[in-house]
């Protein structure tokens, strides 16, 4: 009796908030921040939030590539993001090598390298009909192998002063008596978010992306070159991951390559997309959701670190959070 009354209730403001997945992601994020501030009162300070945003940027850029690949549908997924990130890091370091003068060519080369390597993924997926899951993973192995051949496992090159400023430096703003430090990557990220949201929402490229993801066949019948577009999507994803690697180079100064870190980016970007409410069936979702997802993941890791948890326990908690979210999301989309 009471349950039916509950079900037929007109959606109130609370239910309305949870109807939009991006809003849900941000509500989850705020909840996590509140939880963090209970654990450690210093957690909600301006400085701490900026630090988290700075650390989230690199994942956020990789998650952008993952987002568009997932939106493009047909079980789209890019497991090679970690490899492209490494390529970006090493190519960038080799070209810049501590000299600001080579910064622009380096950025162009990094983007081109990521794009071309991503296109191979796209060609296999789109023209040869290989499942994205396995194609992108196999190509990831090749790309990582290629990096090992080229570098012989040594560290080649380093970041330049300006790139390091972009990656780790902050913008100092005097406001009244206090000084606020905003990391450079934060305004860069905001600009990227605005640009991407505009492209996805209001241009024909965005419309094509959602169209292909929602109904590949119909998009083809409308005269869109679906195969070529789908290949390009993987290329762009590769370019974005490589670009993230370039910024990451500015953050850590020297390129390094630990397998677990690369696998970490692959898994984290997928989880960020999931938390952001982007449907893995394609054709739906917004980048802002993945942004919230990236920040959520970095915040969660940071909170668990302050609680002095080891790697294993951190993984267990991340997995449990993920499973709970998955169950809730699945239940809800079934009801809808």
């Amino acid at each position: 009796m009471t349950t039916t009354a509950f079900k037929n209730r007109i959606p109130g403001p609370v239910t309305a908030i949870f109807q939009d997945r991006v809003t849900t992601a941000f509500v989850l994020l705020i909840g996590l921040f509140i939880f963090g501030s209970i654990i450690n009162p210093a957690f909600l300070s301006f400085l701490q939030i900026m630090n988290i945003l700075q650390a989230s940027f690199f994942l956020g850029l990789v998650a952008l590539g993952q987002t568009i690949v997932v939106i493009s549908g047909k079980e789209g997924l890019d497991l090679s993001v970690g490899g492209m990130l490494t390529v970006g890091m090493f190519v960038g370091a080799a070209i810049v090598n501590g000299n600001d003068a080579y910064l622009i060519p380096a950025f162009l080369a990094v983007i081109a390298a990521g794009f071309i390597l991503g296109l191979v993924n796209g060609f296999g997926v789109s023209y040869l009909g290989i499942a994205p899951l396995i194609m992108t993973f196999a190509w990831y192995l090749v790309v990582m192998g290629m990096m090992l051949v080229l570098t012989k496992g040594r560290i080649v090159g380093e970041s330049s002063p300006f790139l390091s400023l972009l990656g780790q430096g902050s913008l100092k703003i005097n406001f009244g008596a206090s000084t606020y430090q905003i990391p450079w990557v934060v305004p860069i990220w905001i600009a990227i978010i605005i640009l991407v949201s505009y492209i996805l929402k209001s241009t024909s490229i965005g419309a094509t992306l959602y169209g292909i993801g929602a109904n590949y066949r119909a998009a083809g019948l409308l005269g869109i070159k679906t195969k070529r577009f789908r290949m390009m999507v993987y290329g762009v994803s590769g370019a974005l991951s490589a670009l993230s690697g370039m910024f990451l180079l500015g953050f850590v100064n020297n390129p390094n390559m630990s397998m677990e870190a690369k696998a970490g980016y692959m898994i984290s970007s997928i989880i960020a997309v999931l938390i952001g409410g982007i449907e893995f069936n394609g054709g739906q979702g917004r980048y802002l959701g993945a942004v919230a997802g990236s920040i959520f993941l970095v915040t969660l890791t940071s909170i668990l670190r302050t609680m002095q948890m080891d790697d294993g326990s951190r993984r267990i908690i991340t997995a449990v959070v993920l499973l709970v979210l998955l169950i809730v999301y699945t239940r809800r989309s079934e009801k809808a």
């Binding site: 899951l133 194609m135 990582m144 294993g312 991340t318 993920l322 499973l323 998955l326």
Partner: protein
């Protein structure tokens, strides 16, 4: 008389035709080419000792590929396979002493059955959660548990127990082959029941299967449970061959098993392919490692070469279709 021979000819042709049309056929050819290559680089390849050591090395991957094949045919996929293996080795190696080998093995089997089989099966089959993402989550879970149990590789495995892996049964059959044969027998038994037909049905056409009265949830659940038996067997082989536990050991198995399955001609969309294909695919991956090692490829090139072989093996199937579309 001549009628009989022509009849025989046609049955042979039928048989040959069936093999050629089998989705695992390209894999079979690649396997023969690799065997020849392997023989070229390693002349003693067909000697008993080398074959036995190869079986010891490949059996875990073959078993895991069989598990992945069962799951993929039913229209699902399992990424948590690798870390389920890690969990098995960590859990058993940490608890084992000289006197409690069997109970601990039983505990390991049951935890894989519960974690990998029942939990994944429940989430994917009953709750209809996306297999890919769900198993990513359970993978992280198994990874975390294994790492918590044993942050540094080690543990204790009694000598008499891991020596069993090196035993020649009846004087000539290597122990891993016995494990493999057991798994194949288990599979044959399952494939003769209605379950064997149902997993193909729900994999190729879920709505159709549902409409014809198949309990899709339960069959998919069972696919994960049956696969977890193979996973536990793979864990056992891995534990005996390493004689220790390590949470990193499973890292490569998840995607390698998917690669093996795809190379073996099993469609990732489900409903198509055979367990034989998975076994062929796993052997191909193993042989590639072997060839790269014996062809004295520099260590720096090994990852690249291995990845390239997988990419080429994957692409071969798609190229004719692409060329056809170009001509149009």
């Amino acid at each position: 008389m001549s009628a009989v021979t022509s009849n025989q000819g046609s049955t042979f042709r039928k048989f040959a035709g069936r093999i050629v049309k089998d989705p695992a056929f390209p894999g079979l050819i690649v396997l023969f080419v690799l065997l020849a290559l392997n023989f070229y680089f390693q002349n003693k390849f067909f000697s008993y000792r080398i074959l036995r050591s190869n079986f010891m090395a490949y059996t875990p991957l073959i078993l895991v590929a069989m598990a992945q094949a069962t799951i993929i045919i039913s229209g699902s996929v399992d990424f948590s396979i690798g870390y389920a293996l890690s969990l098995f080795t960590c859990l058993t190696a940490v608890l084992m002493t000289d006197t409690n080998v069997l109970p601990i093995l039983l505990l390991g089997f049951l935890s894989i059955l519960a974690g990998s089989g029942i939990m994944n099966g429940f989430f994917i089959g009953k709750l209809k959660m996306s297999p890919l993402i769900t198993t990513f989550a359970t993978m992280t879970l198994f990874w975390g548990i294994a790492q918590t149990i044993m942050p540094v590789a080690g543990g204790y495995v009694p000598r008499f127990f891991y020596k069993i892996y090196r035993v020649k049964v009846l004087g000539f059959l290597p122990f891993p082959v016995i494990v493999l044969l057991t798994a194949i027998v288990i599979w044959i038994i399952f494939s003769r029941t209605s379950f064997g037909r149902y997993i193909y049905a729900i994999g190729s056409n879920e709505e159709g299967a549902y409409a014809s009265g198949i309990n899709v949830s339960r069959v998919r659940f069972m696919a994960h449970v049956v696969a977890s038996i193979f996973i536990a067997m793979a864990g056992l082989c891995l534990l005996m061959s390493m004689a220790s536990g390590d949470f990193r050991v499973g890292q490569e198995y998840a995607l390698n098993s998917v690669a093996a399955v795809v190379i073996g001609g099993i469609a990732l969309t489900g409903g198509r392919g055979s367990i034989t294909g998975a076994i062929i695919g796993a052997m191909i991956l193993g042989l590639v490692n072997n060839i790269i090692f014996y062809a004295k490829v520099s260590a720096f090139y090994q990852g690249f070469a291995k990845g390239m072989v997988i990419v080429v093996a994957l692409c071969v199937g798609g190229v004719p279709q692409w060329l056809k579309s170009l001509r149009r």
